[in-house]
C-alpha cells in the first residue's frame, strides 16, 4: 500500500511550524480557513472551496492590503493543504467506520 501518513504530517508541520515570511498565526488561520479578515478571507475561502474562481483582483487586493508575494504564496499553500487534509481525514474516517461494520 502507498503510505502518505508520515509525509502528510511532515508537510503540515513544515508549512505551519517551520520558518516563513507570513506569521505562524496567519498560516494556521489560512490552513483552517477560519479567523481571517478581508481581503485575505475571500482569497483563502475561494482557494479552499472553489479555487477556479480566484481572480487577479482577489490577489491584487491582498497585495494592496500590504502582504508580499512570498506571504501570499505561503498562505495560499496553507489554504490548499488545509482543505485537502480535511477531505482526506473525512475519507479515512468514513473508511474506518465502514470497515468496523461492513
Amino acid at each position: 500500500m502507498a503510505d502518505i501518513t508520515e509525509a502528510r504530517k511532515a508537510i503540515v508541520a513544515r508549512i505551519l511550524a517551520g520558518d516563513g515570511k507570513a506569521s505562524r498565526e496567519q498560516r494556521k488561520a489560512a490552513f483552517d480557513n477560519a479567523g481571517l479578515s478581508d481581503p485575505l478571507r475571500t482569497l483563502i475561502e475561494k482557494v479552499a472551496k472553489n479555487a477556479r474562481t480566484v481572480t487577479d483582483q482577489d490577489v491584487a487586493a491582498v497585495r494592496a492590503a500590504g502582504l508580499s508575494e512570498d506571504q501570499i504564496f505561503e498562505l495560499v499553500v496553507c489554504g490548499a493543504v488545509g482543505q485537502a487534509v480535511r477531505q482526506n481525514e473525512r475519507g479515512l474516517a468514513a473508511l474506518a467506520a465502514a470497515a468496523e461494520r461492513v
Binding site: D3, R8, R14, R52, V54, F73, A80, Q87, N88, A94
Partner: protein, 193 residues
C-alpha cells in the same frame, strides 16, 4: 502565473535547470515545475514526496489507474492544466487515450473495471462535497475494492486536491499538447521526485 515570484523569483540553480530542460526537451518549463521549484523547502520538496508515494509507491492500482484518478479528480475540480497533464500520462501508461477520454466524458459508460468506476465516483464526491460517509465506503468494499486500495485512492486525491487548488489559484498557463506529451513521457520515466 498570478505571482511574479513564481514565474521568475527562482534560485540561480533552478533557473539553470529550466534552461537545460528547454534546451533538451524543446519545451518551456511548465508552471507545475516552476511552483515546486520555488522555495522548494517550503512546499515543493515535502509535496513531491507525497505525490511520488501516492502515484508511484506500492499499490494494487496500476500507474495508469492512479493517473486516471488524478485526471478525474482534476476534472471534478475544473482544473484544466491538471486534467490535460494527467490525461496525457494516463493515456500513455495505458497505451489507450480513448479509455481516458471516455472516462472523463461519462464515468457511467466508461470502459473500465467496476471497482475503478466505483472508486472514481467516491473520489468525485469527496472533491465536490468535501466529504464522504461510511455508506459510500461500504458500497466500495462491496464492489470488491480493498481497504488498502481505498486508502491508496484517497492518497492520490489528497495530492491532486492540493495541486488543483494551487494550479487554479496561481493561474497556471495551459500549454499545447506537445508540452503535455513531453511531460507525460518524463513523469512515466521518472515519477514525481
Amino acid at each position: 502565473m498570478r505571482l511574479a515570484v513564481l514565474d521568475e523569483g527562482h534560485s540561480f540553480r533552478a533557473k539553470l535547470m529550466f534552461g537545460m530542460i528547454r534546451l533538451f526537451s524543446g519545451q518551456r518549463v511548465v508552471d507545475a515545475v516552476k511552483l515546486v521549484m520555488y522555495r522548494p523547502e517550503f512546499y515543493g520538496n515535502p509535496m513531491k514526496r507525497i505525490t511520488h508515494e501516492a502515484m508511484r509507491g506500492p499499490s494494487a492500482w496500476s500507474v495508469g489507474d492512479r493517473e486516471l484518478m488524478a485526471a478525474y479528480v482534476s476534472k471534478v475540480n475544473g482544473t484544466e492544466f491538471c486534467i490535460k497533464a494527467h490525461s496525457a500520462v494516463a493515456g500513455r501508461a495505458y497505451q489507450d487515450d480513448a479509455r481516458v477520454s471516455a472516462t472523463l466524458a461519462d464515468l457511467d459508460t466508461a470502459p473500465i473495471s467496476e471497482p475503478l468506476r466505483a472508486t472514481l465516483g467516491m473520489l468525485g464526491k469527496l472533491a465536490r462535497e468535501n466529504t464522504v460517509d461510511a455508506d459510500d465506503m461500504r458500497a466500495l468494499l462491496a464492489a470488491g475494492v480493498s481497504r488498502a486500495q481505498i486508502e491508496d485512492a484517497l492518497a492520490v486525491a489528497f495530492s491532486f486536491n492540493v495541486t488543483d487548488r494551487l494550479a487554479d489559484a496561481f493561474n497556471f498557463t495551459v500549454p499545447g499538447p506537445k508540452a503535455f506529451a513531453a511531460g507525460a513521457k518524463f513523469l512515466l520515466a521518472r515519477g514525481y521526485r
